[in-house]
């Protein structure tokens, strides 16, 4: 079983990338499970024809955590991809991080965590221990950073490297950085910049995903690009991503950059 997690700045396109990656993996005949680890709960929507599936935390809120079955929380979407949304508290109250931890415990108890590939799609930043849960022992072993060439996006990715290097230094930890995915904003020299960033933190650029209108069109039609426009260039890119992820053997302990180095790097590549 391959377990991968996608982390990156909020709004950078993690969920879009994760859903298209899951769809492309499923198209290769793999049994895929995607777990949305964000209280916003919209990670799996495009795999579910626009449907917001009930979240694990919704069910816990309604009926407590003992009376939940696998069927209540796992929903089959496009090409049989099994979708789970962790969900969480209302914005501004409680502890969303603890909600992620509780979700993982429930998934474990129900024996729901099995597939050829499990894709964890995690909230923008690793704000607390709860959101690092997917990186802990027994879960995602390969972390992919999703970033554009914008400084704030690189800054967030660099921050997540701190969490990865902290967690991977623990004994028995199997969590490593597998690579950096550039989800482009179509900035000049963006691919070069992200590739250089990846190199400097001790990793590599897995794939450059260009910005394409078709992504928005697919979303308006409540589908992944892989489903909506399978013959488009963009769908081919996502299929290429699936292929590279399956072949990737890189497992690095990243070295986060200092803020000045990061700024200088972005400056070097500015137009």
């Amino acid at each position: 079983m391959k377990q991968i997690a996608l982390y990156g700045k909020g709004g950078i396109g993690k969920s879009t990338t994760a859903a298209n990656l899951s769809a492309a993996l499923a198209c290769r005949g793999l049994d895929v499970m995607q777990i949305g680890c964000d209280p916003k709960r919209d990670s799996t929507r495009m795999l579910m024809q626009g449907r917001l599936i009930p979240t694990v935390m919704d069910l816990v809120r309604e009926r407590g955590d003992t009376d939940i079955t696998r069927e209540d929380i796992v929903y089959e979407g496009f090409m049989g991809v099994r979708c789970v949304e962790a969900g969480g508290p209302e914005p501004g109250v409680g502890c969303a991080g603890r909600g992620i931890i509780a979700t993982f415990q429930i998934l474990e108890r129900l024996g729901a965590l099995h597939a050829d590939v499990v894709v964890y799609d995690v909230l923008g930043d690793v704000v607390c221990g709860g959101f690092a849960m997917p990186m802990r022992e027994g879960y995602a072993e390969e972390v992919y950073l999703v970033t554009s060439g914008e400084l704030m996006s690189l800054y967030a990715a660099n921050n997540i490297c701190k969490a990865i290097s902290r967690l991977s230094s623990r004994s028995r930890s199997t969590c490593r950085l597998a690579g950096v995915i550039c989800n482009a904003k179509n900035l000049p020299r963006e691919e070069e910049l992200v590739a250089e960033f990846a190199k400097r933190i001790g990793s590599f650029l897995v794939l450059y995903i260009p910005r394409d209108q078709v992504v928005q069109q697919a979303e308006l039609n409540k589908k992944t690009v892989v489903e909506y426009a399978p013959s488009s260039n963009q769908a081919a890119v996502y299929r290429e991503l699936a292929s590279r992820v399956m072949d990737n053997r890189r497992m690095d302990i990243p070295v986060p950059l200092g803020i000045e180095d990061l700024e200088n790097l972005a400056y070097e590549y500015s137009p």
Partner: protein
């Protein structure tokens, strides 16, 4: 100097105050264990004093789902439950986990009217121990005080409600104040009613239990313009100075009261005249050698000398208050010296 009161949990310190308010209910907003530990401790201390009252403590009994979704609803329900018991006041104490997830306890408490509902922040992980909780509870409760004119009377601030000789200490301070015609306005807080707390600002002087309460003293001075005296009286000279200090605050001539007190002290030293000429050394409760200025003063006034090979005599902690405290101290010393 660090004392056992600096460690422990802020929650316990605050409870030592809130459970002393007549007719109060205290809600501990957190997992049930936080309430259980503290309830057991208070119950054991009350039972040890032959006080059959059970501390009125409720827990919001939070579980994991309350932590994930926020504990404010559980708190709201608990306050309603407490209000059903017709208490004089509801005190809400926060705990580590509700502090960590940021429950807005203050705002939930503000949502009630009729019965006063007071929020006291006591999340232990924020630092401070028992003492900090005691101080925090007094600060929070002072919001009940109405801003009134002063009357010639004194408040006692920060009595250690769990200490063994707390009633003896109180009686002695009351006796000394009565000797110069000053009644007690509010005991803030020890066996106190809510009405008494609301009159806090009328006291013309705050007498702090000991200097560790100076933070509260300054706070109340700023808030109500009430001057404070840093400690209950300790030792023979200290007791005379205490009378002088209170006299200064109220612009009273206390020379008569001082003369009477000195005569009382002389009678006590006479009563324990069998101690004269004894050699003693001072020991802490663990039998280790210690020193204490006030003990040396008492020993010398009683005609004793301090010597490394003398009889080991105890230095009680906390030190007995006032002239009557000296009597109890000399009684113990006499037993230690077999005099």
């Amino acid at each position: 100097m660090s004392t056992p009161r600096d460690s422990g949990c802020t929650l316990t310190g605050a409870l030592s105050v809130t459970t002393e308010i007549e007719g109060s209910v205290t809600i501990i907003h957190g997992p049930s264990g936080c309430a259980h530990h503290n309830f057991s401790l208070l119950h054991a201390l009350c039972a040890g004093r032959d006080d059959p009252r059970l501390p009125r403590v409720l827990s919001t009994d939070l579980a994991e789902t309350d932590i994930i979704f926020g504990g404010e609803d559980a708190l709201d329900a608990a306050i309603r439950r407490a209000a059903g018991k017709n208490p004089s006041i509801i005190c809400v104490l926060s705990t580590c986990v509700t502090g960590a997830i940021g429950d807005d306890v203050e705002a939930v408490c503000r949502g009630f009217s009729g019965i006063p509902v007071i929020s006291i922040p006591t999340a232990g992980f924020l630092g401070g121990g028992f003492h900090q909780g005691h101080v925090q509870a007094l600060m929070s409760l002072s919001s009940l005080a109405e801003d009134d004119g002063k009357i010639p009377s004194a408040n006692l601030v920060g009595e250690k409600t769990l200490e063994t000789e707390r009633d003896e200490h109180f009686n002695e301070v009351r006796r000394l104040l009565a000797a110069i015609g000053i009644p007690i306005c509010t005991r803030f807080v020890c066996r106190t009613s809510v009405g008494e707390i609301s009159r806090l600002s009328r006291g013309g002087c705050n007498i702090l239990r000991d200097p560790s309460m100076e933070g509260v003293g300054r706070f109340l001075e700023e808030r109500f313009g009430t001057p404070f005296i840093s400690s209950f009286p300790i030792g023979s000279r200290g007791t005379i100075q205490f009378l002088e200090e209170v006299g200064r605050v109220f612009s009273l001539d206390v020379s008569g009261a001082i003369a009477e007190e000195e005569a009382r002290q002389a009678r006590i030293f006479h009563e324990f005249r069998s101690l004269r000429g004894k050699r003693v050394r001072f020991c802490d409760p663990f039998g280790n050698r210690t020193d204490s200025e006030v003990c040396r003063e008492v020993a010398s006034a009683a005609g004793m000398s301090v010597h490394p090979e003398g009889y080991p005599v105890p230095v009680p902690e906390p030190f007995p208050v006032g002239t009557e405290g000296i009597r109890r101290l000399l009684y113990r010393w006499r037993r230690a010296c077999r005099a």
